[in-house]
């Protein structure tokens, strides 16, 4: 498999809510190990695209091809949302979705839910099999937390942690399965400048060390242009342009979508 093969290919994706076409015949392709940004003004349908890829929404039309762990290409459309992670595709959420009542490490452990195999019976009686499995994955979660610099708070509850930490915990949760691709929904929203710079480093490192492809939505143009290899700009669910950050910044249509036309 060469570096230039695609890992995710969205083809002619469309979804409408009532009369509103949230995504309209959108197509793009993401290469292996790429950091790919999806940008667009508010309401452009970015999160809807994410939800269509991860099957939280069922697209009206179109295909979402994903190259799974074995190198086979699968169409994700029609799969159940909980089946997507087992293909090697994990996501985060725009409004952090963590469980307040659980500790930091327990939240991260939820990320490897599909790796747990012990039966209900052996969990009830804490049989050696369940215990070993729990310990093995707990150690892995500790490693991930160390990597993210969260180890010291692993046993604290998620409730009450600062926003930047919550974002990191959510990112840590996606790493538990060593996924082939991570989808980040506005990872830098609400972070201060230092935290944003740190995040850029972390995302790059994840890509380089774990051989993961990253697809992200972001409003912060500086963040996107600093981090992404290629960017796809959309507006009102339609594709405006795909290209390198420089190309996108120079693109006239993108400028119009963001800043408006002079004669309007």
């Amino acid at each position: 498999m060469s570096k230039h093969d695609f890992i995710l290919k969205v083809e002619d994706l469309s979804i409408a809510f009532g009369g509103l076409k949230a995504v309209d015949s959108l197509s793009f392709e993401i290469k292996e190990k790429e950091i790919f940004g999806l940008i667009g003004p508010n309401g452009a349908g970015k999160t809807t695209v994410f939800n269509c890829i991860t099957q939280f929404y069922k697209p009206d039309r179109g295909r979402v091809y994903f190259r799974n762990k074995d190198g086979q290409i699968e169409d994700l459309v029609g799969k159940k949302p909980h089946e997507i992670i087992s293909k090697g595709l994990v996501r985060t959420f725009q409004n952090i979705e963590l469980i307040r009542e659980l500790s930091v490490i327990d939240n991260v452990l939820v990320g490897s839910h599909i790796e747990f195999k012990a039966s209900l019976f052996s969990q009830l009686f804490r049989l050696p099999k369940a215990k070993r499995e729990e310990e093995r994955l707990r150690r892995k979660a500790e490693e991930v937390l160390k990597y993210m610099g969260l180890y010291h708070i692993k046993d604290q509850l998620v409730a009450g942690q600062p926003y930047g930490i919550l974002k990191k915990i959510e990112l840590a949760r996606t790493l538990m399965l060593s996924p082939r691709m991570i989808i980040l929904d506005e990872p830098a929203a609400g972070l201060n400048d230092t935290e944003t710079l740190e995040l850029i480093e972390i995302v790059r490192e994840i890509r380089d060390k774990l051989n993961t492809t990253i697809l992200l939505i972001e409003h912060d143009m500086k963040f996107v242009t600093d981090l992404c290899d290629r960017i796809c700009a959309i507006s009102f669910g339609k594709l405006l342009a795909i290209g390198t950050p420089e190309e996108i910044q120079a693109n006239e249509e993108v400028q119009i979508a963001y800043l408006g036309k002079g004669d309007e």
């Binding site: 909980h82 992670i85 500790s103 452990l109 939820v110 839910h113 969990q123």
Partner: protein, 346 residues
């Protein structure tokens, strides 16, 4: 100081509460002895036994409400079904206690799973409606299906015989109930601290996160409900063999709501809280209120008591009365800290 508090949390986390549970069990087992030497009235023992049984039932409901975020209003119906099955199988069919116990738990579980298959697909709250209906249907069956249930006059059973020869008397049955309660507490603790428990908590906290992490929401909802029903039915079986009498009007919505009150008052997502709640909701009216002058004469004093208590708990301890203990500990910690800082200054 922060570090020290963290350490405190860690110690608190790593300690398994098995020994606490077992100690609690040993204390309970001593109660029949107190009755025998005349220190405790027999009627108290009966009340405590039913409190323990309701604790088992409430633990199941807590798993459902506290961990999975679902509500069932059919607790009483499934518990009643457990009593009738136990009576029918041991009295009418003369089956051994162990086999009767297994069937009496499995049959309600199957009915529960069927109810869940229909109602859990749509939305969490439909389970409440469906279980309310099932519970009323079951109660109607207890009344109408007279050949087996004896209608309004109710059905009787006797103390269980273990392994075919070990006849348990009143005290033996009480100990059996304690053993079951402690066992259920330990199993429930294990379950909520396993990946299944985390999956349940996740789906209660965020369905989106649960799905994104590969948790099959329908499967886990069904599982939680099946366990809750199994606990209810087990409670029913134990009730039948201790109280030795069951009748349709014991299994109304009021009981289901009382068990819900146990969780709210005692502590959502807390095993000791559930047991504490059962003692408060089912114990205080019977053991204390009824024996007070004036208040004891009011009909429905228990309802007033529980109602007021729910309001007070929600206002001051929204997570349940079990957190009073933690608050006291915190207070002591604070006082000690203050003392330390004083002595440092001096």
């Amino acid at each position: 100081m922060r570090k020290r508090e963290n350490k405190l949390i860690q110690v608190y986390k790593s300690k398994k509460p098995y020994s606490d549970y077992i100690l609690f069990g040993i204390l309970l087992v001593a109660l029949p002895i107190l009755v025998d030497i005349g220190l405790l009235k027999y009627s108290y023992l009966t009340t405590i036994a039913s409190i323990l049984i309701y604790s088992i039932v409430a633990l199941g409901l807590n798993l459902l409400v506290g961990y999975s975020g679902l509500i069932s209003l059919g607790t009483a119906g499934f518990m009643g079904l457990g009593t009738y099955l136990a009576a029918f199988l041991t009295k009418d069919l003369n089956l051994p206690f162990e086999i009767s116990l297994t069937i009496s738990v499995l049959v309600p579980m199957v009915i529960g799973i069927l109810t869940g298959l229909v109602s859990l697909r749509i939305e969490g709250y439909y389970l409440a409606i469906a279980t309310l209906a099932i519970s009323e249907i079951l109660r109607k069956i207890f009344v109408e299906f007279e050949v087996v249930t004896n209608g309004f006059s109710g059905k009787q059973a006797s103390y269980p015989t273990l392994l075919g020869f070990l006849d348990l008397g009143r005290n033996g049955t009480f100990i059996l109930i304690v053993v079951f309660l402690i066992g259920i507490m330990i199993l429930t603790y294990n379950l909520i601290n396993s990946y299944t428990g985390r999956a349940l908590s996740t789906m209660r906290g965020s369905e989106a996160a649960a799905q994104a992490m590969g948790i099959n929401i329908f499967k886990y909802r069904l599982l939680a409900f099946a366990i809750a029903v199994a606990y209810s039915a087990l409670g029913g079986v134990l009730y039948m063999h201790f109280v030795k009498y069951t009748y349709p009007n014991a299994w109304t919505l009021t009981l289901s709501l009382n068990i819900l009150a146990v969780i709210i008052i005692g502590g959502v997502r807390s095993i000791p809280g559930t047991v504490l709640g059962a003692f408060v909701v089912f114990g205080i009216p019977d053991l204390i209120l009824k024996r007070l002058p004036l208040i004891g004469d009011i009909d429905g004093a228990a309802y007033i008591f529980n109602g007021v208590l729910i309001i007070l708990t929600i206002l001051f301890y929204p997570l349940g009365l079990i957190h009073i203990g933690k608050d006291l500990k915190k207070l002591r910690f604070k006082l000690r800290k203050r003392k330390e800082s004083y002595s440092e200054q001096a």
